[in-house]
C-alpha cells in the first residue's frame, strides 16, 4: 500500500489570462485530514484536479510518496476522487458504480463485485446495490461516490465540496461520518469546502486560499487565533476591523491605550466574542440585537463605527464596551486597502 505524502511544489495554472492557481506550495502528511477552504472561484477544485491528474498544471510539480506524478495520467495515479456533483455513472447500478474501479483494472467480476459490495456496506448502502443513482437520495449519492472512490483501494481521498448539495442536518451528520471513516481506515483526505464551520469541524489542517494562492495553513486553532491576514481573520468567523496609529509603541483603541511594538497606522482586529458589553469602557449605543439560543449577537455603534459583539447572556441594557488587549490582533494596512483585502475576488 502506498504511503501518501503529497508534495505540491510551485504549481501554477492559467486558463488564458485567468490565473486559477499561482505558485502554490503545500505538503500533506500520511493520514492527515486536510481541508482546503476559500471563497468560490479561488482555485480549490483546480488544485484538487491537478493532484488527481485530470487537469495539467501550467507549471510546477506534484509528487506522491517521493514519486513525481506530474506526467502521469489520472488512471495510473490510484487516487480516489469524489467530484463536486458526484459524477456517478447514471447508467450503472450502485454496485456496478462501486465496482467500476476494480473492473477497469481488469479484476474478475466476482472479486470486483465482492469488494464493491463491501464498500457499499461500509457506507450503509448494501441494501440499495441494485438501484441506479437517480433512485438514490442526495446523501446516498454522496456516500456512493465515496464508496466508489474507496473501492479502488486508494488510501488517498480527494473530496470536492462533498456536502454541498445536502440539507443542513444531513450535512452535519455526514461530515462526522466522514471524519470517523477516514480515521478508522487510515485515509489521507483532502477535502474542499467554502464553509468555514465545516472546515473547523473536520480538519487536522486547514489551508486557506484566495485568488489562486494559499494564504495560510495550520491547525484550526492556529489559523483562528493567529490569522495571517485580515482576509483569513474575516473568512474564519467574524471580525471587527478598526484603524489605529502607533506612536512610541502606543495607540488608542476603543477609548483606551494599547501597547505593541509597532509604528504608524495599523489595523486592529477584534473578534465579536472578545468584546464585552458592560457599564465601563468605551461609550456605545446598541443598534440591534438577535438571540441565537446559546448566545446573543449585537450591532453597536461606537463614534459612528459599527461593531459586532457576541455575548453569552442578554446585555440589551449595556452602555459601554471593553476588551482585553491580549485578544487584539494587529495587521499592517494592506496595500490594496482594507475593503479590497477582505473581498473574495
Amino acid at each position: 500500500m502506498q504511503m501518501p505524502h503529497i508534495q505540491i511544489r510551485n504549481v501554477s495554472k492559467y486558463y488564458g489570462s485567468v490565473k486559477a492557481l499561482h505558485n502554490v506550495d503545500l505538503d500533506i502528511e500520511d493520514g492527515e485530514y486536510v481541508v482546503l477552504l476559500g471563497p468560490s472561484g479561488c482555485g480549490k477544485t483546480t488544485l484538487l484536479k491537478i493532484v488527481a491528474g485530470t487537469v495539467e498544471p501550467s507549471s510546477g510539480h506534484v509528487s506522491l510518496a517521493g514519486r513525481d506524478l506530474t506526467r502521469l495520467p489520472p488512471e495510473d495515479r490510484g487516487i480516489g476522487f469524489v467530484f463536486q456533483n458526484y459524477a456517478l455513472f447514471p447508467h450503472l447500478s450502485a454496485l456496478e458504480n462501486a465496482s467500476y474501479g476494480r473492473l477497469a483494472r481488469g479484476e474478475a467480476p466476482e472479486k470486483a463485485h465482492r469488494i464493491g459490495q463491501e464498500m457499499l456496506k461500509l457506507v450503509h448502502l448494501a441494501e440499495r446495490a441494485d438501484a441506479i443513482p437517480k433512485e438514490l437520495s442526495g446523501g446516498m449519492q454522496q456516500r456512493l461516490a465515496i464508496a466508489r472512490a474507496l473501492a479502488t483501494g486508494s488510501k488517498l481521498l480527494l473530496l470536492d465540496e462533498p456536502t454541498n448539495a445536502l440539507d443542513a442536518h444531513i450535512r452535519t451528520e455526514l461530515r462526522e461520518e466522514l471524519r470517523r471513516m477516514a480515521k478508522q481506515l487510515g485515509l489521507t483526505v483532502v477535502h474542499v469546502t467554502h464553509d468555514q464551520e465545516e472546515a473547523m469541524a473536520l480538519a487536522d489542517k486547514i489551508v486557506i486560499m484566495r485568488q489562486g494562492k494559499i494564504l495560510q495553513a495550520g491547525t484550526p486553532k492556529e489559523v483562528y487565533e493567529h490569522p495571517a491576514t485580515p482576509f483569513v481573520a474575516n473568512f474564519l468567523g467574524e471580525a471587527n476591523f478598526l484603524r489605529v496609529t502607533f506612536e512610541d509603541d502606543r495607540a488608542q483603541l476603543l477609548g483606551r491605550p494599547v501597547e505593541a511594538r509597532l509604528r504608524g497606522p495599523h489595523i486592529a482586529c477584534i473578534r465579536p466574542e472578545s468584546l464585552r458589553l458592560d457599564d465601563k469602557g468605551a461609550k456605545i449605543r446598541i443598534l440591534g440585537s438577535r438571540a441565537f439560543g446559546p448566545f446573543y449577537k449585537y450591532d453597536v455603534d461606537y463614534n459612528g463605527l459599527s461593531l459586532r459583539v457576541r455575548a453569552t447572556h442578554d446585555k440589551s441594557d449595556a452602555t459601554h464596551v471593553s476588551f482585553d488587549p491580549a485578544d487584539v490582533l494587529y495587521f499592517s494596512e494592506p496595500d490594496e486597502g482594507l475593503e479590497k483585502a477582505l473581498s473574495a475576488v
Partner: protein
Amino acid sequence: MKQWLNRSSKDTRWGQAIDAVALLFFVFFVLGPLFFVFSKAANLEFSPAMQEALVTSFGIAAAVTAIDLLMGIPMAWMLARKRFPLKELVDTLIDLPLIIPTSALGLSIALFWGSSGLGLLQPGIAMIVLLHIAFTFPYVVRTTQAAMLELDGDLARAASTLGASPFLAFRTVWLPLVRAGAVSGALLAFTRSLGETGATMLVAGAAKTVPILTVYYKNAAPSDLNAALTLSAVFLIASALIFVLVRQQLGVKRMRLGQVNAQLERRLSRLGQVSDGASLLFLLAIVLLPSFYFLKFTDLNFFSGPSLQAIGISFAVAGAATALSFVFGIPLALFIASNKRGSGLVKLLNELSMIMPTVTIGLSLALFWAGRAPEAVVLVLAHTAMIFPYFVGSVSEVLAEMDENLTQVARTLGATPLHAFRTVVLPLIKPTLVAGLVVAFMRSVSETGGTLAVSQNIQTVPILIVNLSKAGQNAQAASAAVLLLALSIALVLVLRWSSKKKW
C-alpha cells in the same frame, strides 16, 4: 405538464381557435395531401422486382447508416472533446454538403467517382452508398456531438481517476450515455437514405431502389400506378415500423460491465490519433471533395436565361412554402408541446410525414392537387407539405424541453400568456426558429424527387439540373448548381445576420 401553455380561462377561446386553425391546416394541407395516394390504391400486388428494390433500398440505408456511425462517432468525439488546430474550420465544413441541392450533389458524386473524375466507379449501388453518406454523415455527427457536449465532462474524468484508460472510459461511459443522440441521428440518416430520389437517380445506373422503381412505374404507364402505390405503401409501412421500433430503444439504458480486458483497452487507447486522422481523411475524401467536385465543371458562360429563371422560381416557391410553414407551424408546435389531448397523436402523424419518401410525397401531392389549382400553387403547397413537418418537429422539441419555470416566473410577475410567450419563450427559441427556417428553405430549394412528380411546365433549379445532366450537359448543370448554391449561401448569411439583431 407544460402549465404555461395552458391558457387561462379568459383567453381560452382565442387559444382554441388558434389550435383549431393550426390543426385544420395540418390535416388539409399536409397530412391529407401526403397520404391521399393510398386512397387510390385498388388491387395491390407485389412483384419480384418490387421485392428486389426493397432489399436494395434497405440494404443501402443500413450500409450507409453503419458507415456513418462508424466514422461519425469518432468525428463527433473529436469535435466535442478534443482541441486541435483548425477545429473551428472542420466544424463548419461538416454541414456544407447539406446546403448543396441534392441533385447537384448527385451530379458531383457521379462526376468525382466516375469516368470524368477518378474513374474508380460506375454508377451503381456503391455510388449510391457514397452519395447517401455525403448528405447523411452531417446528421450523425451533429446529433452525436450535441449529446456529447451536453454530457458532464466529470463523468469521463471520474472514470479515469478510477483507473479506466481513455478507450475504456469512452466505451463504458461516453458511448452508453450518448447512445440516444447517436441513434436519433442514425435514424434520420436511415430514413433520408431510404427516401432520397432526385440525386439517387443520377448515380444509380442500373440499380433500382424503391423510389427509383416508383418513379419508373409512375412514368411508364398510368396503368402501372397501382404498382407504384403498392410499393409506396409497403415501403412506408416498413420504414414506419423500423422508425417506431428504434424510437422505443432511445433513452439511457442500464448497462452491465462484465469482464474488462484492461491491457487490450489500454492498447486501443493509443490508437486515438490514428482514429482522429482516419475521421478527418474520411470527411475530406469521402464527404467533402466528392460533394464539391462539380465546382470544377462550372463555366461562367452558362449562366444563361433558363437557369436565372429557374432560380427565380426556386426562390419564390421556397419563400412561400417557408412562410406558410412558419405561420402555421408555430401554433402546431405549441400544441404538440402542450401535452393537451391529442397532441401525442399529432406528434406521431407529424413524424410519419417526415419519413415518407419524397417520390411518394410527390406522387400523392400530384394526385391530390391535380386540376384543382394552378401548377405554381400546387408546387408551393407540395413544398409546404414536405418542409412543414421538419419545422414543426424541431420547434416542438425545443419547446418541450424548455424550462417551464421561466415562463411561470414571467407569469407571477404579471405577464399574460401571450406576453410571456413573446418576451420569454420567443427569444429563447429564436435560434431554433431561425435554424428551422433556414433548413426548411434549403430543403425546399434543393428538393428534387417530389418536385419531379408535380411539376409539368415549371422548372425549378433541381429539375433543370436533372434534365441537363441527363442530357449530358454537365457544365450547364454544374453552373446552374453553383448559382443556386451561391445565392442560397448569401441568403442564409443574411438570415443569420439579421436574426442576431433584436426582433
